[in-house]
């Protein structure tokens, strides 16, 4: 018995209740369970069609639905057949679809609205969808069929999994194969069989390979590449007779040559499967004729995929079939009753016999004034050409080098302007003009042609938290068709994730050394009363093993959870947090005293000047955060400097609340609408030194002129008059530029402080380690954050306020504390005793 691909374990049966007379849903019958039919059913379900329709799917093959495009890798032994299953029998069952696998539909009675199956069944329908696809064309040749009409043993088409399985089995015993047909399928079959060690000869009736897609020159180059694999190619050769009586022994060409073989693959093209339509009396030319809504001449019968002929075109690619499926699902479910299909501009990118090929539009000039540019490098196996009509790209063929395919596809799809120097379409001239990389691609440019997935869709999935290529592919289906775009998908995911792509589950962990997501980790820490980083490792890390790169994040988390009850371990802190300064390139530190809201005094300035001179500070600099930075300070000098300054730390080194920039507000500015300066000082006073998943930079401005850049801060506050203040969150003006989202407009400085604290605590409790608010806010979603913080939808606002208060209560100025008594022995000893610091420039 043949194994059913995507089948169910033996003995497992499901009860089918048949037609329930009380079921008022319309009967939707789909004939064909291939790439088009099954996708159509998926699209219908996605639109909620399971509620509207009782769906029955007839499949000629006994299997579930599998990816026919991937049969070549299966034949080549590169993929296992289980990998190409798209929908198993269970899937149909789970979705309430009646799958009649292995039943061929003979015809439809369009008057009675019934389809008749090969098993003698009669199935009534309200809507009938034909998705019967194509079949392998077997040319009429003497000896190719046995007396009963079947193929001579050893002769195979290459269309189904069963044929693929039979060929795979035959590779063990066969030595010589002849492949008829030098198109895509033939080439794939030839390469796959050759990979199994068979001696392969390819017979193609036309004067060059892939004549449907390539011009003669490109075809000639492809021939060389194929021959270099060890495959013999016969062009312009017609096979006239198949030799052998019990089993194939060879083929006889019309020119008299005899090619011996024990395996013959016929890949001489496909023909639309339209006999059901013909027997049902529907209008059929090359295929079943449909209108822009995929409707045949019978108003309740539709045809999609390779069996459909739309505006004279019959497609043999999966992308148009899937577009058909979408449009028809829109129409039938009523999601968009006016949806129309207007034809496909087909651009294909594939790997044939190991050679990269991309083809779009026409392959050769057709009009007198068409421009035609060709770059041909037969030695390298590269052939590139473009056809331009009226300043628009109307065709391109790339063979052996498809680096420009993204750029050309855009130009082809959208008719974007072309470079004056046409050669730039095909090669990058070395004047610094970069090839279109993933960064430059517009968000709406299509990456996966099979599934119609754009760069924007991929970026969106990454933004939604898909942290690995696999997760993005699962979410968007990009790369799940032919797979040729996988490397591009990967590049875009990496670009969108800013290099932070992970391949495994550790993406969801808070820190790499402990296999837990943040909520789980926080719960475990509370439950087991773990108050030091070493105790967290001992209790929760695999094997109790510590991890250097996890310590900083855990220290931050423990301080947030326990406040003053956290058990300090200095070795678990980054050096900046051990000595409360930002380490510089030579091992010296920077000292930034707190200057709340950027407001200082002559006395403070005098003190800072004295200290800078006394300790020979190499550079004194005004920072971007409206403070003064003393740079290049020796570690040993830190405690004395702090004592001399008599000012608290400005936390310019930590993953913590940093500073609040302000403008001069209503006291001085003639435009000021609110006292932004005082509010900034009050915010900084309340939230000074609060540790967080990543740094938090704030600003308050007295009017929407935004002089202190509040719109691009982690929290930005803007006075808008009448005592009202806008609170923006998730802004950024660093490596990422993002305008903050308006969280709320409140009517007092106290309300600003309360809401800011609540937002910061929500961020502290829910953000991943090193996740800035500009990532956090879009990840959670502004609406959700509003509900939680403004409407208390989760009933946690009181807890958030209390958590923040606990951290505020635990605040101590680290400079005052450690200058009085070092936290550890040798806390401020030099770490480069033989080096005279500073080594940074002194000015």
């Amino acid at each position: 018995m043949t194994t059913i691909l995507g089948g169910r374990p033996e003995g497992l049966t499901s009860l089918s209740l048949g037609d329930d007379e009380f079921d008022t849903r319309a009967r939707l019958v789909v004939v064909g369970n291939g790439m088009a039919g099954a996708r159509f059913v998926e699209e219908v379900l996605e639109r909620g069609g399971g509620e509207q329709f009782r769906i029955t799917v007839f499949g000629d093959e006994p299997h579930g639905n599998y990816n026919r495009i991937m049969l070549s890798p299966v034949l080549a032994g590169e993929s296992h057949e289980d990998e190409i299953v798209l929908n198993s029998h269970d899937w149909y069952d789970d979705n309430g679809i009646h799958l009649r696998a292995g039943v061929r539909v003979e015809r439809a009675d369009t008057a009675a609205k019934v389809v008749y199956g090969s098993d003698g069944s009669a199935t009534p329908y309200d809507h009938l969808v034909l998705a019967t696809g194509s079949y392998s064309f077997i040319p009429p040749m003497t000896g190719i069929r046995t007396g009963d009409g079947g193929l001579l043993p050893g002769v195979y088409g290459f269309r189904t999994i069963d044929e693929t399985r039979a060929m795979l089995a035959a590779t063990d015993s066969c030595e010589r194969a002849v492949v008829m047909g030098g198109g895509l399928l033939g080439l794939e079959a030839a390469r796959a069989l050759q990979g199994h060690g068979l001696q392969v000869e390819l017979v193609h009736a036309m004067p060059w390979l892939m004549n449907a897609q390539l011009d003669a020159e490109a075809g000639a180059i492809l021939k060389k590449s194929v021959e270099s694999l060890g495959i013999t190619v016969h062009l312009g050769a017609m096979a006239g007779e198949v030799l052998g009586t019990e089993h194939v022994e060879g083929v006889l060409l019309k020119d008299g040559r005899r090619l011996d073989c024990d395996l013959l693959v016929v890949a001489a093209g496909v023909r639309p499967h339209s006999d059901v339509a013909v027997r049902s009396g529907l209008e059929v030319e090359r295929a079943v004729i449909v209108d822009d809504q995929l409707r045949t001449d019978d108003p309740d019968i539709y045809a999609i995929g390779e069996c459909a002929q739309h505006r004279g075109s019959v497609y043999g690619l999966v992308a148009p079939a899937w577009e058909h499926a979408k449009v028809l699902a829109d129409v039938l479910t009523g999601t968009d009753p006016g949806a129309e299909y207007h034809g496909s501009r087909t651009a294909t990118k594939l790997k044939v016999a190991g050679v990269d090929v991309a083809v779009m539009g026409v392959s050769t000039p057709e009009r007198d004034d068409d421009e035609f540019l060709v770059i041909s490098e037969p030695r390298r196996g590269v052939h590139l050409s473009v056809v331009i009509r009226e300043d628009k790209l109307v065709g391109a063929t790339l063979l052996g080098d498809t680096r420009k395919v993204a750029y050309l596809t855009q130009a082809f799809d959208r008719g974007t302007p072309l470079p004056e120097e046409r050669i730039r379409l095909l090669v990058d001239l070395s004047d610094g003009a970069e090839e279109v990389g993933v960064a430059e691609m517009p968000a709406d440019s299509q990456v996966c042609n099979c599934n119609g997935v754009s760069k924007g869709d991929i970026c969106g999935a990454v933004a939604d938290g898909c942290g690995s290529v696999g997760a993005v592919m699962d979410r968007t289906r990009a790369g799940k068709g032919c797979g040729s775009c996988k490397s591009l998908v990967k590049q875009i995911v990496e670009w969108a994730a800013d290099g932070e792509v992970t391949e495994d589950a550790s993406a969801s962990w808070y820190v790499p050394g402990i296999p837990m997501a943040k909520p789980e980790l926080m719960a475990a820490i509370r439950e087991q009363d773990l108050r030091s980083v070493s105790s967290v490792f001992a209790a929760l890390a695999p094997g109790g093993k510590d991890d250097a790169k996890s310590k900083m994040g855990l220290t931050s988390l423990l301080r947030m959870i326990w406040g003053s009850e956290y058990e300090q371990e200095n070795d678990a802190k980054f050096i900046n947090d051990r000595v409360h300064g930002n380490i510089q390139r030579d091992g010296t530190f920077s000292v930034v005293p707190q200057i709340k809201g950027g407001v200082t005094t002559p006395a403070q300035l005098r003190k800072i000047a004295d200290v800078a001179e006394k300790y020979e500070v190499p550079m004194v600099k005004i920072t971007g955060g409206q403070r003064i930075d003393l740079l290049g300070v020796r570690k040993e000098d830190l405690p004395d400097m702090w004592n001399d300054l008599g000012m608290p730390s400005g936390y310019a080194y930590g993953k913590s609340f940093r500073t609040v920039k302000t403008c001069v507000g209503s006291d001085f500015c003639r435009f000021g609408l609110g006292d932004s300066t005082q509010l900034g000082i009050d915010l900084e006073t309340r939230f000074q030194g609060i540790e967080s998943p990543a740094k938090m930079k704030l600003a308050v401005v007295g009017c929407p002129r935004n002089c202190a850049e509040a719109y691009v801060k982690d929290i930005g506050v803007v006075a808008i008059g009448n005592g009202k203040w806008e609170v923006y969150v998730g802004g950024a003006a660093g490596a990422t530029i993002r305008k903050g989202d308006l969280l709320a407009t409140v009517d007092s400085p106290e309300a600003v402080i309360e809401l800011s604290g609540r937002f910061m605590q929500y961020y502290r409790e829910n953000a991943n380690w090193l996740e800035r608010t500009y990532d956090f806010v879009p990840r959670i979603g502004l609406e959700k954050i509003k509900q939680v913080l403004l409407e208390d939808s989760e009933g946690i606002c009181a807890d958030l306020d209390a958590g923040m208060q606990r951290s505020i209560d635990a605040y101590t100025d680290p400079w005052g504390q450690d200058a009085a008594e070092p936290a550890t022995p040798g806390q401020f000893r030099t770490s480069l005793p033989l080096v005279d610091l500073p080594k940074v420039p002194v000015r």
């Binding site: 070795d571 050096i575 051990r578 030579d586 190499p618 030099t830 770490s831 033989l834 080594k839 002194v842």
Partner: protein, 134 residues
């Protein structure tokens, strides 16, 4: 380091050359061969889990006291960009430089992030005294 804006700057720290980056710090000048054991300091001078720098026979070394009780000694400056390794963070497997987070294995000094390896020195404790062989 000949940026024009630095030309008018005047060193205020004696002996400091203008614009010398930490990468110009001389690398290890330790001769190969069997070393000499030097007493560099006391165990209690190193906080648990941290590192401290010492001078052993004219060579600056960083000595680490891990929470599992083990001791390790390495060259003091990171081979990548001269970072002070004694300020780095550790676990049972690696030492991480504070400047660019290059990590080095305790087992053989090799970098897990593609930098040149660091030199390891034998270190032990006797009656509370740290002994480093250079």
């Amino acid at each position: 380091m000949t940026a024009p804006h630095l030309e008018t700057a005047r060193p205020t720290t004696p002996g400091t050359e203008l614009g010398t980056p930490a990468t110009d710090v001389p690398a290890n000048t330790v001769a190969a061969g069997p070393g000499v054991e030097h007493a560099v300091g006391r165990l209690e001078e190193i906080a648990m889990g941290e590192g401290r720098a010492f001078v052993a026979g004219g060579v600056q070394v960083a000595v680490f006291r891990l929470r599992d009780g083990s001791l390790h000694a390495t060259q003091a400056a990171c081979p990548h960009a001269g970072g002070p390794l004694a300020d780095g963070q550790t676990d049972v497997d690696v030492l991480v430089c504070p400047l660019h987070l290059y990590a080095y294995a305790w087992s053989d000094g090799s970098s897990t992030s593609g930098a040149a390896p660091i030199r390891l020195f034998p270190v032990r404790e006797q009656d509370g005294t740290l002994l480093v062989t250079v």
